[in-house]
Amino acid sequence: MIIFYIFLAAVLILIFWVIAKYNALVTLRNQVTNGWKQIDVQLKRRHDLIPNLVNTVRGQMQFEQETLEKVIQARNAAASAKGIADAASKEDMLTSALSKLFALVENYPTLKSNENVLQLQEELTSTENKITFARQFYNDIATKFNIAQQVFPANIIASMFNFKPSELFEITVAAEREVPKVDLSLKK
C-alpha cells in the first residue's frame, strides 16, 4: 500500500513537472514571437521614413540622383525581403546606402541645417538603434528559448510537443559600409 502511494506521488510530481515545463516553454515561445514582431515594427517604420527623407532632399540633391535611387531600391528590396537571413542582408544594404546619402548631405550646407532633414536624420538614427536593440533582445530571448528546449531533461518535453529552436540573427560587421565617393567638382 505504501509503495503504491509513493508511486502515485512520484507520478503526480512528474505530471506537474511536465505541465510546468510545457507552460514555461509556451511562455518563452510567445516572447520570442513578440520579440520578432517588435523588429518588424521598427523595420516598417524605417521603410516609411525613407521616402520622406528622399523627397525632402531630392530638390537640392539633383546631382546625386544615383545615390537617391540606390536608397530607394535598397528600401524596396528590404521591404519585400522574405526570411531572417534575406531580411538581415537587405537591411544591411539599406543601411550602407543610407549612410552614403547622409555623408553626401554633409556637402550641402542648406540641407545640413534644414530642420526637416535634421529631424528625419534623428528619426532614422533612432530607428536604426531600435532595430539593433530589437534584434539584440530577440537574440537574447530566442537563445533562452533554445537553451530551455535543449537542456536535459526538458529536451524530452520539447521534442514530445514539437518545439522548434528559433533562428538567430547573425552579427554583421558594420565596417563593410561602402565609403562614399565625394565629388566636389562642379558638374554642368
Binding site: G35, Q38, Q42, E115, L118, Q119, E122, E123, T125, S126, N129, K130, F133, A134, Q136, F137, I141
Partner: protein
C-alpha cells in the same frame, strides 16, 4: 558591504527589502505612538484606549500607501521636472533614446521628464516598470552626445528593471515621513506644555505648574525629538545608502549589457564627475535616485570608513575603471587571446 549580486538576486533582494522596510517603519511608528500613550496619556490605567498608537498606526499605513502609490510623483515634482516635449528637438532626441533603451531592456515605455538645472545629472523613480519615470537635466541633454545619453538612460532603465526605484523611492518618502511625524509630535507636546502652563489661575501655581511640566515633559520631549529625528531615520538612511552603492555598480554593468557600449557610459561619468557644481534641484531625499551624487561635495569620492558608511554612490573613479575594464574586454573578445610565441 553587501556581496555582489546578479540582477535576479538584486530584484528578489529589493522586493524583500521593501517589505522589511515597510514593516520596520510601521513598527517604529507604532512604538513611538505607544511610548507616548504609556508615558504621557496614561494608557492602561487612566486611559483605556491607546489613541496615539492607533493614530500613528493609521498614519504609518497611510504614508506607506501614499509612498507606494504616488510618492514617486511627489519626488519627481520636488525636483521641478517637466514632461519631455516631443516638439523640442532635444527633448525628442531624449524620447527616442529612451524608446531605444526600452526596446533593448524589454520594458514598457516610462514617462520621460526634463529637469531644468545647470548640473549634469539624471534620475529614475517609480514603483514598478509600468509606473515609473526617467528624468534628465537639460544641461546633460545639451552636453552629452547620443551614445553617452544612451548610456545614462540605460543606467536609469536598469534601476527600473531591478526594482531599485521602488525601494529607493519608498526610502526617500518614508525618511521624509518619519521626520515629519517627529515634528508633529514634538509640536503637539509643546502645545500641551503651553496649555498646561497657561491653565493655572494664580501666578504662583502657574509658575509651579510650568516648572513641573518642564521637569516631566522636558526630558520626554527631548527623548521623542531625539528618537524621531535622529535615531529612527538613521538606520533607514544608512541602509538606504549601503544598498544604494552596490546597485550603482550593478546598474552600470546592466547598462553596459543593454547598450553594449560601456565606453560611452564611462565617458559621460567622467564628464559628470569632473564638474563639482551641486545639482540644486535635487534634495537630499532624492540623492540616491540620481546617477551621481547631486550634492557636488565630493564626499563619496573621499574613500575611507565614513564615505563607505554614508556615501550614496560609489567613488566615480571606481565606477569608470570598472566600465573601462568592460569596454576593454568587449573590444578584445572577438579575437582569440594572443598566443605566446613558441619558437
Amino acid at each position: 558591504m553587501a556581496a555582489v549580486r546578479n540582477i535576479y538576486e538584486q530584484q528578489a533582494y529589493n522586493k524583500r527589502m521593501t517589505t522589511v522596510l515597510v514593516i520596520l517603519y510601521i513598527a517604529v511608528a507604532v512604538l513611538v505612538g505607544y511610548t507616548v500613550d504609556v508615558l504621557v496619556l496614561g494608557f492602561p490605567a487612566s486611559n483605556p484606549l491607546p489613541i496615539l498608537s492607533l493614530a500613528t498606526l493609521m498614519l504609518a499605513c497611510g504614508t506607506t500607501i501614499w509612498s507606494l502609490s504616488s510618492g514617486w510623483i511627489a519626488v519627481l515634482k520636488a525636483t521641478g521636472a517637466v514632461p519631455a516635449n516631443p516638439r523640442d528637438p532635444l527633448h525628442k532626441k531624449l524620447l527616442n533614446i529612451v524608446e531605444e533603451v526600452k526596446i533593448a531592456a524589454g520594458l514598457p515605455m516610462p514617462r520621460v521628464y526634463v529637469i531644468h538645472d545647470c548640473d549634469f545629472n539624471a534620475l529614475a523613480t517609480g514603483n514598478d516598470p509600468r509606473h515609473c519615470a526617467v528624468a534628465v537635466t537639460d544641461s546633460l541633454l545639451e552636453g552629452a552626445d547620443r551614445d553617452e545619453l544612451q548610456g545614462v538612460v540605460a543606467h536609469e532603465m536598469s534601476h527600473i528593471k531591478n526594482y531599485d526605484i521602488r525601494l529607493m523611492t519608498i526610502i526617500a518618502s518614508l525618511v521624509g515621513a518619519i521626520v515629519l511625524m517627529g515634528d508633529s509630535i514634538t509640536k503637539s507636546l509643546k502645545t500641551s506644555i503651553e496649555s498646561a502652563t497657561s491653565d493655572g489661575s494664580s501666578t504662583t501655581t502657574s509658575a509651579q505648574a510650568q516648572i513641573i511640566s518642564w521637569v516631566v515633559y522636558g526630558p520626554l520631549y527631548v527623548l521623542i525629538w531625539f528618537f524621531t529625528t535622529i535615531v529612527a531615520p538613521l538606520p533607514l538612511k544608512i541602509m538606504a545608502m549601503a544598498v544604494s552603492r552596490n546597485r550603482e555598480y550593478l546598474a552600470d554593468a546592466a547598462a553596459a549589457e543593454l547598450t553594449r557600449n560601456p565606453a560611452a557610459l564611462a565617458q559621460v561619468l567622467k564628464k559628470v564627475g569632473t564638474d563639482r557644481i551641486p545639482t540644486f534641484s535635487m534634495t537630499r531625499a532624492a540623492a540616491h535616485l540620481c546617477i551621481v551624487d547631486p550634492s557636488g561635495n565630493g564626499f563619496n569620492d573621499m574613500g575611507g570608513f565614513l564615505a563607505e558608511l554614508f556615501g550614496t554612490h560609489p567613488p566615480i573613479l571606481k565606477r569608470i575603471k570598472r566600465l573601462e575594464a568592460m569596454a576593454y574586454s568587449a573590444s578584445r573578445s572577438p579575437q582569440p587571446p594572443p598566443q605566446p610565441a613558441h619558437t
